[in-house]
């Protein structure tokens, strides 16, 4: 075993032991604990849990690499995956917390109708499932590179651990393990980033110091057949950058596994501050990621520029085994680098390895490499657990006990929740081992669908009393159909031809237009049909105020 393998094993086994211990400490006995952690999670802890829930294998493993190759246009992910929290904090979280039940479909069900609830539950399951598959795969990459474990065994191992604490502790177990996982993943992300920043610029704060290398990076990028790093709209047209950023933001604010996290706070005020802490914790990673991308890319390009193919640094050989780095046949010296297998460049580097390989590329010691591996696992596992909870609750709470078996005791509901969770884990294992070919593209679906279905229905449900069930159902269905149709039209996913983008709009950005379609249809149809019943209007009214009004001294209220 190499040094790196030993350290990886130490960190992974150590962190897994912590997660299991926490899970045992926080096992639950009733459904309120299972679905919303008894609404007793302190604000900062909830913020950390949201951050871990949100930052997936994609954020930890892939994002800096994506940004490294997209350059300036990597903005779409940086702003898109953080700006949504402003919408969430201002438009959604406090109100849904005040309403205070278990699931997102349950809110639209109570606000509109059972039909809308069913549509929402099915959408929540599809969105969460596409996402889970990506997490399982991220975990598999970590295992196969660092422990030389078979991907299959790696996926099963990770899934069993997640399954254990998710089934045992439900939301409560998941929340407290996510707090631990956040700590692991942020430490694992920041330490190498600080080390690389110190090494390359002498200033250990990557957010500040990566400005110093941008000129150098621009120069070498152009030399090696890539775009200038800081040039805007080199990778995507401006209109598309705008629409993709917006779609990711409103998609974030509409994702059920994120929204449901705000049900677990003690108070409405707690939900607001949770959103603040969540974005604060997320921002620690998201402001570091572009620096990691820039530093690693410069390191990488300098490492290989003009080097002959048989004298390449050792990390290339290590990673070549995973198939994520390839030196093209017949290349004697490396003069061009790309992340696209079809580019014909001398060296092809997959986005997914840049963060995981960054300590090796920078020549940092083995313990740091091991720590990064454990961080990648923590990111994948925390997100997978949150998603599995949504799948389980949508299935048991919103579909089974609504549609099939309406009377049941709390015990039966808890058992059903656990069984659904167990089944979800099994399906996730299967999908992680045999990832459907379209997985990478399907993430675009998850955001587009969330943006064009949930976000408008929830926001209008809170801010517009006149909005009714017919309008919401029509809006959700038309947003969904519009978005899905364009995605199928432009992506060669289901065996259909990849048609050219209309008006430069990519399938990742279409969710924005889908959301607008949803808003317009909902408003027009609501206006044309009867207003919602009084008790619904009363419900909307009640979620707008955090608590009953206490006696205030006359005059102070209106000043």
């Amino acid at each position: 075993m190499s040094q790196i393998q030993i350290w990886t094993l130490v960190f992974i086994v150590g962190s897994f032991a912590v997660y299991l211990y926490i899970a045992w400490r926080s096992r639950v006995k009733e459904t309120a604990g299972f679905y919303v952690a008894g609404q007793g999670i302190p604000t900062i802890a909830n913020g950390a849990a949201v951050a871990a829930d949100w930052m997936s294998a994609a954020s930890f493993i892939s994002m800096a690499g994506l940004i490294a190759f997209l350059g300036s246009d990597g903005t779409i992910y940086l702003m898109g995956w953080t700006g949504g929290y402003v919408l969430l904090a201002l438009l959604i979280a406090p109100y849904l917390r005040k309403w205070g039940k278990f699931t997102v479909p349950e809110f639209v069900g109570d606000r509109y109708s059972e039909t809308v609830r069913t549509i929402a539950a099915v959408a929540a399951i599809i969105i969460s499932f596409t996402y889970v598959v990506g997490q399982m795969r991220g975990g598999g990459i970590v295992f196969s590179r660092f422990l030389k474990l078979d991907v299959t065994q790696g996926v099963i191992l990770a899934a069993v651990i997640i399954g254990l604490y998710a089934v045992l502790g439900g939301m409560k177990g998941i929340t407290w393990t996510q707090v631990a996982q956040y700590t692991v993943l942020i430490v694992a992300y920041l330490i190498p980033a600080f080390a690389v920043a110190q090494q390359m610029t002498g200033i250990p704060i990557p957010q500040v110091s990566f400005g110093q290398i941008l000129d150098e990076l621009n120069a070498i990028s152009v030399e090696m057949g890539l775009n200038q790093y800081t040039e805007a709209f080199a990778a995507r047209p401006q209109i598309d950058v705008f629409l993709v950023t917006m779609a990711l933001m409103i998609g974030t604010a509409g994702l059920p596994h994120v929204i449901v996290r705000f049900y677990t706070t003690k108070t409405v005020r707690g939900a607001r501050y949770s959103a603040f802490w969540a974005l604060f914790f997320i921002a620690l990673l998201y402001t570091t990621a572009p620096a990691v991308g820039a530093f690693t890319k410069l390191n990488l390009l300098q490492d290989v520029n003009g080097v002959s193919a048989d004298a390449l640094p050792s990390w290339i050989e290590n990673w070549a085994a995973t198939g994520l780095v390839t030196v093209s046949d017949g290349a004697t010296t490396i003069n061009t680098v790309s992340n696209s297998p079809t580019s014909g460049a001398d060296l092809i580097v997959n986005n997914d390895i840049l963060v995981l390989a960054s300590p090796e590329i920078a020549g940092l010691p083995a313990p740091i490499v091991g720590l990064v591996a454990a961080g990648g696992m923590a990111a994948a596992m925390s997100t997978a657990a949150g998603l599995l909870l949504v799948i389980s609750s949508s299935f048991s709470h919103d579909l089974y006990f609504r549609r099939v078996k309406r009377d049941s005791t709390d015990k039966q509901r808890l058992l059903a929740g656990r069984i659904a969770m167990g089944l979800a884990v099994l399906i996730a294992i299967y999908a992680g081992i045999n990832p459907p070919a379209f997985v990478a593209q399907v993430v675009a679906f998850a955001f587009g669908l969330a943006a064009s279905t949930f976000f408008p229905a929830i926001v209008l449900g809170i801010f517009w009393k006149r909005c009714n069930a017919t309008g919401a159902a029509a809006g959700m269905v038309s947003g969904l159909v519009f978005t899905a149709t364009y995605m199928i039209y432009t992506l060669p996913v289901f065996g259909t031809a990849a048609n050219p983008h209309i008006f430069d709009i990519s399938p990742e950005g279409i969710g924005t237009i889908g959301a607008i379609v949803n808003f317009v249809v909902t408003i027009v149809v609501s206006k044309m049909t009867a207003p919602p019943p009084d008790e619904i209007v009363e419900m909307v009214e009640s979620i707008r105020y955090p608590a009953t009004r206490r006696e205030v001294t006359a005059g102070t209220a209106a000043d």
Partner: protein
């Protein structure tokens, strides 16, 4: 199923002998006022959110890139760093301002309640 309306919640500090507020208070003027102040705050913060991210980071990124500070072209900096800092601050300001508003209108929660629900 029953809705949890604000009127059904009990407050720890309220003496039980005091006349209970009517289920549907006749004077709902404070509600309108509270809600419109909430909306005003929301619109202002969302305007900042839009200008900094979509405005500086995307629509105006090219002209702003002509200004370089500490190695960063300014538009690039807003798009990859500045906007995120602003987002964090915006949520903090919102939470603080809503605390004040809740307090003024007497609809603030006591931190301890809600835990045992």
């Amino acid at each position: 199923m029953t809705e949890v309306t604000p009127d059904k919640e009990t407050r720890g500090g309220e003496p039980p002998t005091a006349a209970p507020p009517p289920a549907s208070p006749p004077d709902n003027g404070w509600r309108k006022e509270y809600w419109s102040r909430n909306l005003r705050l929301m619109v202002i913060l969302l305007a900042v959110w839009f200008v900094v991210s979509f405005g500086f980071g995307i629509l105006l990124v090219e002209p702003l890139n002509n200004i370089v500070i500490a190695g960063f072209p300014l538009g690039f900096w807003f798009a990859q760093q500045g906007s995120i800092y602003v987002f964090v601050v915006l949520i903090f300001v919102y939470a603080k301002m809503m605390d004040r508003l809740d307090n003024q209108f007497g609809v603030d929660e006591q931190e301890t309640e809600g835990a045992g629900k």
